[in-house]
Every structure is written in C-alpha cells, then in structure tokens.
C-alpha cells in the first residue's frame, strides 16, 4: 500500500485549456462572454438585442452551443454576424476544447466581442471554465422568482444577472423584491439588469456594462478606445 498525494483540480485539463484560450483572447483584445440560462429563457434573443446595441462600435461573433441543431447559429447569421455552431451531442455544457476549435474558425483580429451561448441548463455550465472573461446568466420572468433558491450555484458564479421578459411581469406572480434580495445575498456585487430582449427594453444599460468590460480588454491589449464608451464611463477628454 502506498499513498500518492495529488492535490490538483479534478477539471485540470479543462482549466489548462481554458487558460490557453484566455491568453489568446487577451492578446487579441477580444472580450469573451459566457451566457448561461435555462432552455427558452431568451439567450438567443438577448444576443440579438446586444448585437443591435453594439454592432456599430464593435466586431462581434457568436458561438452557439446546443445539444443538436443549428437553428440558433442561423438566426445570428441572418443578421450578418459570424456564428459558429457547436453541437455537444448530448453533453449538458460546453468545455474549453470545443471553444478552442470554434475559435479556430474565427478571425480574432476583426473582433472585439465573442458571445458564447451555452447549452440551456442552470446547473452543469457553472463548473466549466471556457477561457471567458465573464459568465453572465439570464433568468426569465415566467421561470419564477424562486429559482435562486433552487440553483444557487449559477447565481454565485455569474458576474451579472439579466432578468429577461420583464414585459410579462403583469401576468406572472414574480416577486421582484424577493428575487433581488436573494440574488444580493448569494452574490453581493452582481448587477441585475431588467430587460425585455425582444422589445429592446432595458438593453442600453446592459450593453453599457458590457461595453465597459470590452474596453478594458481592448485597452489591456493596446487597442485604442472606441466611440462613446469612454463617455459612458465619464472618462471623456483628450488622450
């Protein structure tokens, strides 16, 4: 009998590949967002609304993760935005090797933002880093305000929380105060953005947050600031 000490992350291989992806994104100055939500919460709709808000300023591409089909990538391509479809073939989340292969097909030099639509699931994507700069989750009003009690992990790992389909608040008994206070206790620093993606409502504030994050990554890579993003942060003035 012998004891061998290992003391290393179980997902070591995924995490090392994620770090490689991240180094590539950082040197190209491309901000990568991992967008997570349950099926039908509005991931694709939010991506389309975000594209509409930011496409004049930034080069954007989308990586679509689904168990099967390419309908979401087609929806994005219809707007003239490059989209890569990953089919996980049954897997409930994306991993960093899938992202690496998808990114190989994109021209990073032409991009400032890659949005990854993770597989619709509130549990599995939380444990897998892809090389992203931020994980953000969407909860939609019809899913109910009690979801943070049932899926605390995803609310804790997210740097921002989007509450989508707020146009449907009048027809659901969604308690916004309770939702806000549970999210606060799970994740004290994450902003909560209330949006209706298909109506374009509330998207500006969310897009402003994202633009500031994009600018930080661009600046670190030595790219010049773009458009009015500096104005949004109150950092106007001669360079």
């Amino acid at each position: 009998m012998a004891t061998i000490d290992l003391s290393k992350p179980i997902l070591d291989r995924n995490e090392k590949l994620a770090a490689e992806n991240r180094a590539r994104f950082d040197s190209a100055g491309v901000f990568v967002l991992d967008l997570m939500a349950s099926p039908g919460a509005g991931k694709t709709s939010t991506i389309l609304a975000t594209i509409a808000a930011l496409r004049d300023r930034y080069g954007i591409a989308v990586i679509e993760g689904d168990i099967a089909s390419k309908v979401d990538a087609e929806k994005v391509k219809a707007h003239g935005i490059p989209a890569v479809q990953i089919n996980t073939g049954g897997a409930c989340h994306l991993e960093s090797d899938m992202i690496q292969r998808a990114v190989d097909t994109l021209d990073l030099d032409a991009l400032d933002l890659i949005i990854v639509e993770n597989v619709g699931n509130l549990v599995c994507p939380t444990e897998f880093f892809l090389g992203e700069h931020a994980k953000v989750m969407i909860l939609s009003v019809p899913e109910g305000h009690d979801k943070p009690y049932k899926y605390p992990g995803i609310f804790q790992i997210s740097e921002a929380v989007i509450l989508n389909k707020v146009d449907t608040l009048p027809v659901f008994d969604f308690d916004e105060d309770e939702f806000t206070s549970v999210v606060r206790s799970l994740n004290p620093t994450a902003p909560i953005f209330r949006i209706a993606a298909t109506k374009g409502q509330g998207v500006d504030e969310w897009a402003g947050w994202l633009a500031r994050r994009i600018e930080a990554v661009r600046t670190a890579a030595g790219k010049p600031p773009v458009g009015d993003a500096g104005a949004a942060t109150g950092e106007e003035g001669p360079a």
């Binding site: 061998i4 290992l6 997902l11 991993e95 599995c124 444990e127 009690y149 206790s185 004290p188």
Partner: protein
C-alpha cells in the same frame, strides 16, 4: 449529468498517477468537493461504479470530503462559516466579502497497491 465527465477526470488523473508510480491497482481515491459546487455525491458514486470496471481502479472506494463554505468580511475582518444561500457578514451585514473555501473540486490523494489483489483475467 456532468458528474460523468467529472468522474472521468478523477479516474484519468488517478490512473495516470498510479501508473507513473508503477502501481498495479488503486484501492482508494480521495477527493474534496465544495458545497457551493453543483456536484452531487450520489451521481459521482454512480458514475464511479459505471466507469471503473476494467480499469486498475476496479473495486476502489471513492471517498468524498465535503468542504463547507467559509468567507471573510473585507470591512470588519470577521471570518465565518455560512450556508449555500447567505454570503453576507453576520457581524456587520457587509456585502463586501471574499469566499475563502467552498468551491473546491479537487483530487487529493490515492491509495495504491503493488501486489495484484486477484488473478488478472483474460
């Protein structure tokens, strides 16, 4: 069921380390799982039983240490244990806190054996 992939990661790391050490079999694998992760022990054990037959870890025990969440308050300095749902400081109600532990997903050590425990088959 991401526990299947996680268990695969545990097995790969354990088998690789055992083979490097020249061991013939693995009798025990010890891991730590933070209570803030979305990993269920029952599903890990289930996947472990499904994946180990035919490997040098066949018949091994998977020992899971659960790590309770603990945080430090950046305002008053208090360190405190908490549950999955409440991060805020119990001393001063501050939201400016740092998680110290509870998100572990780590393989700690393995127990190996040099003598074959039974006749190898086939």
């Amino acid at each position: 069921m991401h526990e299947m992939g996680i268990t695969q990661g545990i097995l790969e790391a354990a088998v690789e380390a055992a083979e490097r050490a020249g061991a013939d079999s693995i009798t025990e694998i010890r891991i730590s799982v933070g209570e803030l992760t979305e990993v269920v022990e029952f599903a890990l054990q289930f996947a472990f039983e499904a994946l180990t037959p035919g490997t040098i870890a066949e018949g091994a025990t998977l020992v899971v240490t659960h790590v309770a969440p603990r945080s430090r308050c950046n305002d008053c300095g208090a360190e405190y244990d908490h549950d999955r749902f409440t991060m805020l400081c119990p001393e001063c109600d501050s939201l400016n806190v740092t998680l110290l532990q509870g998100r572990e997903l780590q393989i700690d050590s393995i127990e190996t054996s040099e003598e074959p425990t039974e006749e190898s088959q086939g």
